[in-house]
């Protein structure tokens, strides 16, 4: 009887944790639609391998790019993430019913994001110094050695500094902010230089050099900034 009750309790706990507000499935929730130059990919339990167009990405998968490289990732809700050169990111997703919560951990480098209008969905960008929650936004999220910079073209972001004073607040469109380990949150209007930086980050143009050789053409493709 005790054993039976134990089994029922375990079953009930399992039902409680695994159903609840809705199914939570760790399924592929993004796909790589463009790879320029060289980039690598690592699944949560795997090794770094070359990344190719069409690769499905599941939660905890990582991407890193080299110089003059670019990776375009599309999530199932049509949000777009452009991983710029010399960057490394980890993508975490969690599906609940018809919504997907997404978190992009930017270890280094920068990402440009064009995020569809979220209903109940959660899209976060994280760095060691900052967490930004997104709703309907185009932004550039850049992580330096000990700082994080965000240029916000439109929409609104809620930002929380992770270190020092741990200040938080909203970043409005056409604003930029630099968050350091000191933890202050002081947005300012984007300057022309900031806008230029943002516009460059949104581009995904590719240049090609074709070397004609007796053995055939060698095509060298690289990201054009």
């Amino acid at each position: 009887m005790k054993k039976y009750l134990l089994n029922v309790s375990v079953l009930a706990l399992a039902v409680f944790f695994f159903s609840g507000a809705g199914e939570e499935i760790n399924a592929p929730a993004a796909v790589v639609t463009k790879v320029v130059n060289t980039a690598q990919y690592k699944s949560s339990a795997g090794k770094w391998v070359d990344l190719k167009t069409g690769q499905a990405l599941s939660s905890e998968d990582m991407i890193k790019t080299s110089g003059k490289s670019l990776v375009v990732v599309k999530f199932t809700d049509n949000s777009v993430l452009k991983v710029r050169e010399n960057s490394q990111v980890k993508i975490s997703t969690l599906k609940k019913d018809k919504n997907v919560s997404k978190t992009v951990d930017v270890d280094k480098g920068s990402v440009n994001a064009s995020v569809t209008k979220q209903d109940q969905q959660d899209f976060k960008f994280k760095s060691p110094t900052l967490v930004a929650s997104v709703r309907g936004t185009s932004l550039l999220f850049g992580v330096g050695v000990d700082s994080t910079n965000i240029d916000l073209e439109n929409g609104r972001l809620f930002c929380e500094a992770q270190l020092g004073k741990q200040e938080s607040g909203d970043l409005n469109e056409q604003e930029t902010v630099l968050v350091t380990p000191e933890g202050s949150f002081k947005p300012r209007q984007m300057t022309e230089e900031d806008k230029k930086r943002f516009n460059n980050s949104a581009k995904s143009n590719v240049k090609k050099v074709i070397l004609k050789t007796p053995q055939g053409d060698i095509v060298i493709e690289y990201l054009d900034n």
């Binding site: 499935i25 399924a27 592929p28 929730a29 993004a30 796909v31 639609t33 463009k34 167009t53 069409g54 499905a56 599309k74 999530f75 199932t76 809700d77 049509n78 599906k95 018809k98 997907v100 516009n199 143009n205 240049k207 054009d224």
Partner: protein, 798 residues
């Protein structure tokens, strides 16, 4: 991007129904899929181009009796127009064409349109299920790159009924479902099979089929996309990207034993420099003649987030009562500041063309009549009038708050330049002032629109403003009119700042509001029910040079209701309209135009046929009976009704290959109860059948039958006009799509007999350089055969 849309449009035009009727000018009509919420592009292939001055597209949506007229864009041997999504409404669109000729004649297409027998296209409902398929790649509106051939879909929003693992995908008609990688919501298609089935440098199609868990069909989503090798070219050192498309055509026609050459060249390009976009289009043709309205076209534009400036030939969009569908050769500019915005246009809408002397009548002949002029040598001559250069200025400041609110004011001034046309009389001038208001609430589920405009027209400004001396003579105690001459002078001083003030001004009595036009509509979209009610009123004097085609002297209402039933599988549409003329009581009888429409559409599933059954009744009555005691009055009687029954079936199915079948049938009967007893009967049957055998081969078969009977009951005579036409053809891609062959045979039987043979070969010498040879040969019955041979070269600089 422009090129991309052009290619997509060309592709989508192909599988649409090809309409073959007998005409002196139209050889073929094709259109993109008519779908609710989407644009519709209509393309007409023309012959005898030298005789055509304009092609007008006339259409009416379900539930209305009034045809909207729009000028088509003429370019070489084709005329083209794109209707906006709001111009389409379930279940169908009725349309026909008027081809205006240079000798001031006109012909309709189809010919039977003069007997109220029009063409009809079924409008497919936009399914809410389309939103359940999110296309991640290729991005909608963007071309797929040939080195990144990948199709990815997200089924995140798909219904729980759908078994995602059963998803099927067809690319250019080939089933590639076996190559799909489906991981939960993600559907990925890549690999050699996809690459070998795509057409680089051309348009492609994909069809995604979703199935329920029990294997039954749930929904089919279709989309077109282009595959290109490069998007554009960049200039070193500066942020400039551009493309240029150059096209040249030489065409020889032998029609009615008259041989003519047509040559034209077109250039279009687009460039982006930082935050600015530029485009330019030039079309120059040998048909351009100084004594005709312009055939050449040119346009250049600069666009930015905050402003745009367009020079050359452009059709600006203002509130429809004031200016709609009118090409302006000049400058159009707009500034977008968010809440406050303004747009303005200035240029000519008619070119000045001299009239010609038809006959010298001598010095003592009467000058009465608009076609008589006094020559410098004292002779009076009868003339064929020319056209004055007509300038227009329009300005439209407007205020917006997102999509929720818009309030605009429009002012238009248009005036003929009387120095620009010899032997031409009665230059005119027109002023229109209008306002429009849009309020959209609850996510556009409630849409309120209202507009009004007041016009003043001067029908002859040749003599300029009336002089104060003349006013003194005409008005007052000693004049012919009783008005106070001082008051008239004050009115003149004010009005002459806007428009030439003389005796030819109308309205003569502004207080009667005979030149006022207004309309208001309310649309509600709740619970699968779309309702729209419209009230309109336009005085007989209303006249805007920016929209000459507007029906005036009409007032009344229009009600339309569409109910979606059975989970959007069935649509019931009802329309009722009642319009009357004689708004200002200027006629001795008022005619009521009553129009009732009912239709039921059933689309059970994408793998089953869709069916539309429709009924309409039009009644026109002015209350004058055929038994009226006044025999003269009887002849002014209007008392007729037309009943029309229709059925349409469309069926897309896969039976080894992709098949697209549509069949239509309609029967109309008109009963005239006046003394003339002009009754008419019309029966139309149509069949379109297209098959996509592979990515390389497509075929089509079209059959149209039209039987017409016009009965003159008073004379007891009956005229019949029966035509049956068949078009059978195929399109074949060879040499890895470098060569595209097209051919068709089209015999016509009945009261008009002929055989039409069409063949074309398009060859890509290089990826960006192509040559196309087109041949059309008509074997006529009773007169000489016709031939058309055209050679077109296209070069794209990217």
């Amino acid at each position: 991007m422009l090129n991309y849309f052009l290619k997509i449009a060309l592709f989508l035009l192909l599988p649409a129904s090809l309409i073959a009727q007998v005409s002196n000018f139209v050889t073929n009509v094709s259109m993109t899929e008519a779908k609710e919420g989407s644009e519709l592009t209509v393309k007409v292939d023309l012959t005898n181009i030298n005789d055509i001055s304009e092609v007008i597209f006339l259409y009416r949506v379900f539930g209305t009796s009034e045809f909207t007229r729009k000028d088509m864009e003429l370019s070489g041997g084709t005329a083209r127009i794109t209707l906006l999504p709001e111009d389409l409404r379930l279940p169908s669109l009725e349309y026909y064409f008027i081809i205006e000729t240079r000798n001031n004649g006109e012909e309709t297409y189809p010919l039977e349109a003069v007997a109220n027998s029009y063409l009809n296209v079924q409008v497919q409902p936009r399914s809410a299920k389309d939103d359940e398929v999110i296309v991640l790649n290729p991005e909608p509106g963007m071309p797929m790159q040939n080195d990144e051939m990948l199709i990815t879909l997200s089924l995140l929003k798909a219904s729980d009924e759908v078994d995602k693992s059963k998803t099927k995908i067809y690319v250019n008609g080939t089933d590639l479902s076996a190559d799909l990688f489906i991981a939960e919501d993600l559907v990925i298609l890549t690999g050699d099979n996809l690459v070998s089935n795509l057409r680089t440098g051309a348009s492609n199609s994909m069809r995604v089929e979703l199935y329920k868990k029990d294997g039954s069909a749930y929904h089919a989503y279709t989309a077109g996309f282009n595959v290109s090798d490069k998007v554009g070219k960049k200039v070193e050192g500066i942020p400039l990207e551009y493309y240029v498309n150059l096209r040249g055509e030489s065409r020889n026609e032998t029609v009615r034993e008259t041989n003519r050459w047509y040559n034209n060249i077109s250039l279009d390009g687009k460039a982006t420099y930082g935050a600015f976009d530029f485009d330019a289009q030039v079309y120059a043709t040998s048909e351009e003649k100084g004594f005709l309205q312009p055939y050449n076209r040119y346009k250049f534009g600069v666009y930015n987030e905050y402003f745009r400036i367009i020079g050359g030939d452009y059709t600006p969009g203002y509130q429809s009562l004031v200016m709609n569908g009118k090409r302006v050769r000049g400058v159009t500019g707009s500034v977008h500041l968010g809440f406050f915005n303004v747009q303005a246009s200035y240029g000519e809408i008619n070119r000045g063309v001299d009239g010609t002397i038809a006959e010298i009548l001598g010095p003592n002949a009467s000058l009465l009549g608009s076609d008589k002029v006094l020559l410098a040598d004292g002779n009076v001559a009868r003339v064929n009038q020319g056209t004055f250069k007509r300038n227009v200025f329009a300005v439209n400041p407007y205020f917006t708050a997102g999509e929720t609110f818009k309030l605009g004011f429009t002012y238009l001034h248009s005036k003929d330049d009387k120095t620009t046309a010899q032997y031409t009389r009665q230059p005119q001038e027109n002023v229109v002032a209008g306002t429009d208001l849009t309020i959209n609430l609850d996510d556009n589920k409630i849409q309120l629109y209202a507009q009004g405009a007041f016009s003043v027209l001067n029908k002859d400004i040749e003599t300029g403003d009336i002089s104060n001396e003349t006013i003194d003579k005409v008005f007052g105690p000693n004049g012919a009119f009783s008005g106070n001459s001082e008051d008239i002078k004050k009115i003149k001083d004010i009005l002459s700042q806007f428009i030439t003030f003389n005796q030819f001004l109308s309205p003569l009595k502004p207080e009667e509001l005979s030149s006022l036009a207004y309309e208001a509509s309310l649309a509600l979209n709740y619970f699968g029910n779309y309702f729209k009610g419209t009230y309109l009123s336009r005085g007989f004097d209303y006249n805007s040079f920016g929209n000459n085609y507007l029906r005036t002297d009409v007032s009344g209402f229009n009600l339309f209701d569409r109910v979606a039933l059975l989970d959007n599988k069935m649509f019931l549409s009802l329309g009722y309209e009642r319009l009357e003329d004689n708004r200002n009581k200027t006629k001795f009888a008022t005619t009521a135009f009553t129009n009732f429409n009912a239709s039921i559409s059933y689309y059970p599933s994408f793998d089953l046929p869709g069916v539309i059954l429709s009924y309409s009744r039009n009644e026109n009555n002015n209350g004058i009976l055929s038994t009226d005691p006044d025999i003269q009055r009887r002849t002014y009687g209007i008392d007729d009704y037309t009943n029309r029954f229709g059925v349409q079936v469309t069926y897309r199915f896969f039976a080894g290959y992709n098949h697209n079948l549509s069949a239509t049938g309609s029967f109309a009967s008109r009963k005239d109860n006046t003394v003339f007893k002009f009754d008419a009967n019309n029966t139309m049957l149509g069949l379109n059948y297209a098959t996509e055998w592979s990515k390389s081969l497509q075929s089509f078969l079209t059959l149209n039958m039209s039987n017409n009977e016009i009965i003159n009951g008073s004379l007891n005579t009956t005229q019949t006009f029966n035509i049956t036409s068949i078009v059978a053809g195929a399109k074949y891609y060879l040499m890895q799509n470098k060569l595209v062959l097209n051919g068709s045979v089209a015999p016509t039987f009945g009261d008009l007999k002929r055989y039409a043979f069409d063949a074309s070969a398009l060859y890509y010498i290089l990826q960006n350089l192509s040559l196309q040879l087109q041949v059309r040969y008509l074997v006529n019955d009773g007169f000489a055969n016709d031939s058309i041979v055209g050679l077109t070269s296209r070069y794209e600089l990217r």
